[in-house]
Symmetry: C2
DNA sequence: CTGTTAGCGCATTCAA
DNA sequence: TTGAATGCGCTAACAG
């Protein structure tokens, strides 16, 4: 037995399909008697609207395509997706989900697939190739880019990385740190990609804040380098550990470190742990993103990118563009903010070597009863 | 100017729409001459197939719905999604993405939405309510459950948690550990949910392996407790820290700890760090999932759940069920496997108190040159 | 207030 | 080998 159609319900209720459609959508005039009959028929027939037919007729799918790249093992993209889904759901929209694996060709394929499906809008969770964005735009589809704006004709949701990184650096400076290391990388992806400006902006903030303090930039405090995607995860973890070791060797006077991402910070903390260097007692460290930060030991002070909001705003923006039926190319800024946890503490002495700054540790004995742990030394709380 | 339709192409090529359709899909007889003319027209007209119309006509959308719950800040679900997308893409399927927020009512809504859209299959990334799965099944849609099977009439992809946890425990035992703590929780979600069997299975493995060693189960070694979802993240992190502190107080003789999840393990490691207890030199710890494990300091030994595979298999299963047009209720098992990293090391002495077992730490001095770090004491490598 | 009608764009039967 | 015709299920004029 086939699925019930509008026509079947109509027959059952003894009215026309138009009337059924009207009660279904609550528009047009319907007499109380007819409405009742239809509602009864609706109940008896286990009817379910065929959205495909509706879409064809109305010439719009209430659907937004979402293109992303790589995996979701990094919560960054995951939260964006959830935010987008949330906004979409609130407006009755549904999300079509495609992965282009960071590949321009596949990205193009994804756009084509989406256009064939006649989605109303596309969100690029970081577009790889601006041309693909225009492809969507040219087809009359609203497009929103997240994080990076490759196509000026499209709308975008971005964060001011320079401002955010400045906040991170100011936090360290306000704790008295002056000898601050930078753990970063200039190229986020493959070098054929010209938009390496996000890490670059974070670095500029590092430099600017330091210079504002009257410090001269010391190259031995900076480790940058192109790093590839690591197997089984996002790039940065192993680089972070390697860079940190390098920094330890070449800049013994450091009291704090700014890492371009939580991932790099996590790698750095692994190196520090192996060296037996205590955070933040011997060295402060701050990250960026707030992805893994909560989970590290000790919990990482970092700059939180409002990932959920970015997704939410992107979808909202797309939906409003769809509603007003205008291309529109506005840029929405999201604010990243400092989250102080337990890896940053006041600098005690400037320029003193780590080993001299820290009293020899007492041999630790296990505490013998339950109770609150000793609070981490000097860590500020937000 | 409206979008080009089949009819426009046909007119341009001087043939009928049927012919165009035939060359588009490469079926039926088409003369070489006609084919050429159509292909030329196709190029000139920037025609794009309208998938919505196609779906209506063919009575099938090449689409699978994916329902998940909560956020994606935990990479676990994220990787499942990516795996599913991958399998779907390989078969020309597309993924519709919905979030039911762990709520049975919303889950039902999601199923309804999907049914209205006439998707061909549904994947429940952990169903919340078995009834919702049958709802899909009753509508003639293929359904696959991941991780937990709530509806026997549906297919499922699961892992054998008892076997996996057994592997974890055996690893600790093989390192000489006997005084092993358990950090867990009996109820993963709200207590109205009867399927608390996953953590329970992990606990059973803990108990079974210990008993097989001739150990008597010591309640002071076990901390279980219902924990709620934490704000801004998955439940378990803070519980892990609290539980670990409790364990430290009530079971001083412990040499190793088995945590039900990486998240709990991460919390535990935060507590240990605050206490100044070294991992694995003073205490070994093993997790479960392999979500955050890589990022912790030191990198956590854990049981890796094949999340990508689970998603991949689920989508493949759904697609094959769709293809053979049979409901089918098979269960596919995925194997979780031990990943040895750096938090587990041989037990040195049994039953000795931590403080007595470990030599007082030397005051650490910073290493002065680059080079490899000292390798973590006694950590096995896989 | 309600029914009839005419497609939305495509795939497919059937006849030529 | 090709074209004409039909209808997938629904909505929106329009006529009554």
């Amino acid at each position: 037995m086939r699925e019930a159609r509008l026509k079947d319900v109509a027959a059952l209720a003894g009215v026309s399909t138009a009337t059924v459609s009207r009660v279904l959508h609550g528009n047009g005039y319907v007499s109380a008697r007819a409405r009742e009959r239809v509602e009864a028929a609706l109940r008896d027939s286990s009817y379910r609207l065929n959205a495909v037919a509706q879409e064809l007729r109305r010439q719009k799918t209430i659907t937004i395509g979402l293109i992303l790249h790589g995996d979701l093992s990094n919560p960054f993209v995951g939260e964006i997706v959830i935010g987008a889904e949330q906004a979409a759901a609130e407006h009755g929209f549904t999300l079509l989900f495609l992965n282009a694996h960071g590949n321009p060709g596949q990205e193009r394929e994804c756009v084509e697939t989406l256009l064939k499906r006649r989605i109303d809008g596309i969100i690029f969770t970081t577009a790889v190739h601006g041309k693909n964005v225009s492809l969507a735009l040219d087809a009359g589809v609203r497009a929103v880019e997240i994080e990076r704006r490759l196509c000026v004709a499209a709308s975008a949701v971005v964060v001011d990385n320079h401002a955010a990184a400045t906040e991170a650096m100011r936090h360290l400076v306000s704790l008295g740190h002056r000898e601050i290391g930078f753990l970063g990388e200039p190229f986020p992806h493959d070098s054929d990609n010209d938009s390496a400006d996000i890490p670059k902006e974070r670095f500029r903030a590092y430099r600017d804040v330091l210079e504002a303090c009257g410090q001269v930039l010391d190259n031995s405090h900076i480790v940058l380098g192109h790093y590839p995607r690591e197997r089984g995860g996002w790039g940065g973890l192993e680089a972070g550990a390697a860079y940190m070791r390098r920094l330890l060797g070449q800049a013994p006077g450091l009291t704090a470190v700014f890492a371009v991402s939580d991932l790099v910070a996590a790698g750095a903390m692994q190196a520090l742990y192996a060296e037996g260097i205590r955070v933040p007692e011997q060295l402060s460290i701050i990250g960026f993103d707030d992805t893994f930060a909560r989970y590290l030991a000790p919990p990482l002070t970092t700059i939180r990118q409002p990932m959920f909001d970015m997704g939410y705003k992107a979808a909202s923006l797309a939906i409003s563009l769809i509603a007003e039926d205008a291309p529109g190319s506005s840029v929405e800024f999201c604010q990243a903010r400092l989250v102080i946890r337990e890896t940053t503490a006041p600098a005690r002495a400037t320029g003193a070597d780590l080993a001299l700054r820290t009293a020899p540790e007492e041999p630790r004995t296990r505490r013998t009863g339950p109770g609150p742990p000793p609070s981490p030394a000097g860590a500020g709380r937000s």
